[in-house]
Symmetry: C2
């Protein structure tokens, strides 16, 4: 069972332009596979595939990533969009709507029927990255005082239970959340027991305002499949299922990975050249500014460089080693913060440890660099200077690696985006400055 084969055969068929073959493949694919294929196609072929008669746009849309689905939906008439949105589960529908420009949402919402509209409004009320924004409102509730027999009879009235129902939510007469009844317990417990006797109450309800990040941590920690969501009064308003949490985890991972390179995790790999150029240019500009700052520092020592050009040969070594060591510390700290393992009590310990590690590694590699410099340029003094600069820069790198994420967080700047560039600026400036500064002082003695 190979994942890439259907995608490749689809691409080949689109390349060849054979309609029959395309229809044939599309019919065999799961909507999620079609969504993946759409994302992996250049613009022209993507539009071509999207317009295939055999492709069920409503079924595919919830699976398409935000960047790409936004583009596809812009070309759909509002009434068609409204009927597509109506046929989705609330959480999917909300995802799709949150991804559209406001003026289009205002055209789509009135085209929907009342029932769907009111259900959606409840979820749209909460921010996208909160428990409320993640939740589904199609939940089955039972009362504490019902017997299991009554519950079983109640469930038989449905043709089909909502997808991914592993528990029934238990509420009291005021719709306050009380606990969860596992469907499997319903099957194995005595039918004359009451819901209250069988339900479990270990899982606290999630407040609708909780951030999606904290929701994901909670699901991961407790190995949850679904969890209840309540409003400030404790009234049950929805449930979150693990598949939506998986999407949050994936999105956060992408954010960390892509943010480091100044990329947006929703960026479309096959966006038009000009859009991509513009998106990337900003980041290059920021980095150019920091590079010029480093160049300015070097420029302060032009006279020293003229006297000893070997410094120009060696100076990138000090800067780059600082960057590497600092990014190791930085990565540890950012990850620890993301999983909630870094607190006010263990930060001093971590800082101390990182500083000691940086000193040890600084001394080891300073010796190596000093010896190589001595052999290469025949100057012990130069070897000692570069060694000292390396130790100082690695120390500053460790210090910055721990402190930068905290500082950025306090300034409400996303550490995943800005930490790396801030760190490199420091290690470059300190690296060049220390080496050339030490040389200026010591070579004249």
């Amino acid at each position: 069972m190979s994942i890439s084969t259907p995608l490749e055969s689809l691409q080949d068929a689109l390349e060849k332009g054979s309609r029959a073959e395309i229809e044939d493949i599309v019919e065999k694919l799961h909507p999620s596979e079609i969504a993946d294929s759409l994302e992996a196609l250049p613009k022209k072929q993507r539009d071509n595939l999207w317009q295939q008669d055999s492709l069920d746009q409503k079924a595919v849309l919830p699976y398409v990533s935000d960047g790409v689905s936004g583009e596809l939906m812009l070309n759909m008439p509002p009434t068609e969009l409204a009927s597509a949105v109506q046929s989705m589960a609330t959480d999917d529908a909300v995802d799709v709507l949150q991804n559209l420009p406001d003026d289009i949402v205002e055209q789509v919402l009135p085209a929907m029927d009342r029932h769907h509209y009111s259900r959606l409004r409840q979820v749209l009320f909460y921010p996208e990255n909160s428990a409320g924004g993640l939740m589904n409102t199609d939940l089955l509730t039972v009362r504490t005082e019902m017997t299991l027999k009554q519950v079983l009879r109640y469930l038989r009235r449905f043709d089909k239970l909502p997808e991914k129902t592993d528990v029934l939510m238990v509420v009291d007469n005021n719709n306050l959340y009380r606990g969860m009844l596992l469907i499997t317990d319903l099957l194995t417990s005595k039918p004359n027991l009451t819901v209250e006797q069988v339900m479990f109450t270990e899982i606290e309800a999630i407040e609708a305002q909780m951030s999606a990040h904290d929701v994901a941590l909670l699901f991961e920690q407790r190995d949850l499949l679904s969890a209840p969501v309540v409003d400030e009064q404790g009234i049950l308003v929805g449930r979150i299922t693990v598949d939506d949490v998986v999407d949050v985890i994936r999105a956060e991972a992408d954010h960390h990975l892509m943010g480091r390179a100044g990329l947006d995790e929703d960026d479309d790999m096959f966006a038009p050249v000009l859009a991509t150029t513009r998106n990337r240019a900003l980041w290059l500009g920021v980095n150019l500014a920091t590079a010029f700052l480093a160049a300015y520092v070097i420029g302060l020592f032009e006279a020293t460089l003229e006297k000893m050009v070997a410094l120009a040969v060696l100076m990138p070594i000090v800067a780059s080693m600082g960057g590497i060591a600092g990014s190791q510390t930085l990565t540890i700290v950012i990850r620890g913060m993301a999983v909630g393992q870094i607190t006010h009590t263990n930060t001093p310990f971590l800082l101390r440890k990182e500083l000691i590690v940086s000193l040890l590694n600084g001394v080891i590699w300073a010796l190596v660099v000093a010896v190589i410099t001595l052999l290469w340029f025949g100057s012990l003094k130069l070897g000692l200077i570069i060694g000292a600069a390396l130790i100082i820069n690695l120390f500053c790198a460790a210090l910055s690696g721990v402190l930068i994420p905290f500082l950025l967080q306090r300034l409400s700047i996303d550490p995943a985006l800005a930490s790396s560039v801030t760190l490199t600026t420091i290690t470059d400036v300190v690296g060049f400055g220390t080496l050339l500064g030490l040389a200026t002082i010591l070579l004249n003695i």
Copy 2:
């Protein structure tokens, strides 16, 4: 509901050393929260917490990350370990065993009872990173010809169904996988229907040899909660539940993020200083070698640098812009490969696009750099040289960003680990080489 509060109060209690307070907090925490706390504690406090009487080691162990749990288990006697492992679900037990040195596993396995031993052996037979290694063997199976009424009666015999049972696996008389029966369908369908009439067959069984990475992609694509695992003959051998898949997704994300900095995703944030120093030293050594390579290239042009020291001031700009632009391309490609969206048909298109984007951004920023250089050093020639070097380096960076991951993959080297350092080596060498090379040729004219 704040996630960090229990951890912080626990740390404070450990700091103060007040036994009663610690016991008190430990009793209130979920095993997963205790596991998180253990990971977030320095070694001494960690051992202290681990030895608390109120801490249920068996319950906590499956939640602790590999790096830390290995250390904790090494201090447990084999018989205690065996009884701890016996009390876990198969997938957790296997995780724990795979994380122990072989000689300890050989002491633990014989200390277990026959029943657990044979169930574990089945899973241990498969590689850790395969569907077989992920699966759980505690599954409930029913036969196609049973009626739902019979199934319900069969289930009533159990006190409790296995955790996270959302489906029953359907097999024929030879134990060949046939389909899945949703527990919810069992509740809503007519009891006189047969399993065959109600089961769904859209989900293909996963072969035990499938990689954990492909399993995770499949779960994500199809929004699965659980899936059947079969051996080569199609015989049902286990099931995979989504909570284990979430762990795979998290581990892969960590691998990508930490691998970039040459870190192992299982590394313990609070490992002893010497262990951490050693782990990081290797990566620094690799990067030092590449830094010396760049220095060697600069050294080739010492004569040119002596004539024009401004080149030394400006050369880090060209190298660093190449590194930044290249890492943008690289990140896109590595992520695309990880989610299976990069194929042989769209790679040429992607390469072309990245090259065009790099040329456009190259020209834009070359102009900016050239103008600043002209203003700073008053030399148009130098401005043009650095601009040309920048365009060339950005082009090489895009080319490398697309090709390096493919090349490494073909050489069976993990792109998540080696791509970044390979790219920087190229952008440094090309950046320094082009600027100084062009200057050597053109400044003499």
